[in-house]
C-alpha cells in the first residue's frame, strides 16, 4: 500500500522542529510500524538525507523504548500494543499518517521522535524500590499473600514506563505511571514497610518535574499498551492520604 507520512523532524533539543512529508510506496501490510520506518530510513540514507531518529530496543513490546504519537494516539490506533507491535495492516492504502513525539514539558524532545524520558527514572529513583538486600529467592509461602493482591500487584508491575499515559493525558499527567509503581509495592507485605515514605517522595518528585495533575479523563487507561487500570490511581490517592 501507498502512504503519506507527516513526521516531526527536529535536529536537537534547542532547534525548532517542523513536519516533513514523506511518501512511502509499496508498504507491506505484514510490516510492523517500526519496520516501515526502517524502510523509510533506508530510503533516506540512500538519498543522502538524515534518517528519522526514533527510540526502539526489544521490538517485542516489553522494553517500553519505542513510543510515538500516531494519528492522535500514543502507539497508534490499536489498543494494548506498543508501536513496535503495531502492524501496518491497520492502516488504509493512501492514508496520511501523522507521527509525532510525546508532548510534555517533562519529556523534552531530544531529536525527531525521541524524547527524554529520564523524568520517569527520577520518579522511580525517588522511592520506587525496597531498601533491603533481596538475596536469594525466599521460600514462596513464608509470607502468605492473598491471590487477589498478588494478581493486582502483578498487573501493576507490568508497566513498561513507555510514557504513553503522559502522552495521552491532556494534562501530561504521570499519575498512571506513578500509581502502577506505587501499587506493585503497596499491595505486597514487603512493600508496606516503606509505603508512606515511598508515596510521599514519588509524588513530590512527580510534581517537581512538571507533570500535570489528574483530571480523571481516563485517556491514560485507554491508551496504555499494558492496560494499567485507573483503579491504581485511586489506590495511589489512598496511599497518599494514609501517608499524612
Amino acid at each position: 500500500m501507498d502512504l503519506r507520512l507527516k513526521i516531526w523532524r527536529q535536529k536537537d533539543a534547542s532547534s525548532q522542529g517542523s513536519f516533513e512529508t514523506y511518501p512511502m510506496e509499496d508498504v507491506s501490510p505484514e510490516m510492523s510500524f517500526l519496520e516501515m520506518l526502517d524502510a523509510l530510513n533506508k530510503k533516506l540514507v540512500e538519498q543522502g538525507k538524515e534518517p528519522v531518529a526514533f527510540d526502539h530496543d526489544c521490538r517485542e513490546g516489553i522494553c517500553g523504548s519505542c513510543g510515538m504519537y500516531i494519528n492522535g494516539h500514543p502507539h497508534g490506533p490499536v489498543p494494548a500494543v506498543t508501536t513496535c507491535l503495531l502492524s501496518m495492516r491497520y492502516f488504509r492504502d493512501g492514508e496520511t499518517i501523522w507521527i509525532e513525539p510525546w508532548r510534555a514539558r517533562a519529556f523534552p524532545v531530544i531529536r525527531d521522535l525521541i524524547v527524554d524520558r529520564s523524568a520517569f527514572d527520577k520518579i522511580q529513583t525517588a522511592g520506587g524500590f525496597i531498601s533491603v538486600n533481596t538475596g536469594g529467592a525466599p521460600e514462596a509461602n513464608s509470607i502468605p499473600v492473598p491471590k487477589k493482591d498478588s494478581d493486582n500487584a502483578f498487573d501493576a508491575s507490568i508497566c513498561i514506563g513507555c510514557g504513553a499515559c503522559v502522552a495521552a493525558c491532556k494534562n501530561s499527567s504521570a499519575m498512571l505511571f506513578v500509581s502502577a509503581k506505587i501499587s506493585q509495592f503497596a499491595l505486597l507485605p514487603q512493600g508496606r514497610i516503606e509505603a508512606k515514605e515511598r508515596v510521599r517522595a514519588m509524588v513530590e518528585k512527580m510534581d517537581e518535574l512538571g507533570f500535570g495533575s489528574c483530571s480523571n479523563t481516563g485517556a491514560c487507561e485507554a491508551e496504555c499498551p499494558k492496560q494499567i487500570r485507573l483503579t491504581n490511581i485511586a489506590r495511589l490517592n489512598r496511599e497518599y492520604y494514609k501517608a499524612f
Binding site: 507527516k6 516531526w8 513536519f19 504519537y69 500516531i70 494519528n71 492522535g72 494516539h73 500514543p74 490506533p77 501523522w98 509525532e100 508532548r103 510534555a104 514539558r105 517533562a106 495521552a168 491532556k170 494534562n171 501530561s172 499527567s173 510521599r200 509524588v203 513530590e204 512527580m206 510534581d207 512538571g210 507533570f211 500535570g212 495533575s213 489528574c214 483530571s215 480523571n216 479523563t217 481516563g218 485517556a219 485507554a222 491508551e223 485507573l230 483503579t231 490511581i233 485511586a234 489506590r235 495511589l236 490517592n237 489512598r238 497518599y240 492520604y241 501517608a243 499524612f244
Partner: protein, 214 residues
C-alpha cells in the same frame, strides 16, 4: 509538610471535598426555589429569611463560601499547571477515548462562576448590604429577573453547563478521594448522571414555569 499540603494530589483532595459540599447544597437551594412557584410570596421570603438568620445555617454559609473559594482557587491553579505541562500540542489532534466532559471542566466551571457573580449581585450582596435592594422580598426580585429574556437565557445556559460540570465532577470526586469499588463506582456514575440532569432541570422548570405562566 507544606509540600504534602500543596501537592497536586492534596489540592485535588481538597477540591473534591469542597466540590461535594457544594453539590450537597444544590438540592437545598432547589427545594427553596420551588416555593417561587406559589402565588403567595410568603413561604419563599420566609425560607430566605430563615436561611439568612438561623445561626446553624450561618455557620454552614461560611463553610459553603469557603468551599466555593477553595474549589475555584485550586481549580484555576491546577488548570494553569496542566496547561504549562504541555507547552506544545499535537498537530494530529487527540483521539484517545476519554470521559468527554472532563476535558471542559475549567470552562463549564467558569460559566457557573459567571452565573454565581450575577446571582450574588442580584441576591446575596443585597443581603450583605453591598448592593442596594430589598432583602425582605427576594420572591419579587426572582420573578422580575426570570421575566427578562436575556437573563433567562443566561440562566438556562449556565444551568445546562452546570449539569455537564456535575456529571464528571461527581464520579471524579470519588476517584480523587480514593473511593473506587467494583460495585459502587458504576452506581456512583449512574447517580452522577441522574443528579446532573435532575438538578439543572429542576431549576430550569421553575424559571420556564414563571416565564411562561406567571
Amino acid at each position: 509538610m507544606n509540600k504534602i499540603l500543596f501537592s497536586s494530589i492534596s489540592k485535588k483532595f481538597v477540591m473534591a471535598l469542597a466540590g461535594l459540599f457544594l453539590v450537597l447544597f444544590l438540592p437545598v437551594h432547589l427545594t427553596i426555589n420551588f416555593m417561587l412557584l406559589k402565588s403567595d410570596p410568603g413561604p419563599f421570603n420566609n425560607a430566605a429569611r430563615f436561611m439568612a438568620t438561623f445561626p446553624v445555617i450561618r455557620i454552614f454559609e461560611i463553610v459553603l463560601i469557603s468551599a466555593l473559594l477553595i474549589h475555584i482557587t485550586w481549580g484555576i491553579t491546577l488548570q494553569i499547571g496542566n496547561w504549562l505541562a504541555r507547552p506544545v500540542g499535537y498537530a494530529g489532534g487527540s483521539k484517545s477515548e476519554t470521559a468527554f466532559f472532563s476535558k471542559f471542566m475549567i470552562w463549564t466551571g467558569a460559566s457557573v462562576l459567571i452565573f454565581l457573580v450575577l446571582h450574588f449581585i442580584n441576591f446575596y450582596f443585597i443581603r450583605l448590604g453591598l448592593v442596594k435592594g430589598n432583602p425582605e422580598d427576594f420572591y419579587s426580585v426572582a420573578h422580575q429577573l426570570f421575566k427578562i429574556p436575556s437573563y433567562a437565557i443566561i440562566y438556562l445556559a449556565c444551568f445546562a453547563l452546570l449539569g455537564l460540570h456535575l456529571y464528571h465532577a461527581l464520579s471524579s470526586a470519588f476517584q480523587t478521594l480514593g473511593l473506587n469499588h467494583r460495585i459502587w463506582t458504576p452506581v456512583v456514575k449512574v447517580f452522577a448522571w441522574i443528579y446532573a440532569v435532575a438538578i439543572p432541570l429542576g431549576f430550569a422548570i421553575i424559571l420556564i414555569t414563571i416565564w411562561k405562566f406567571r
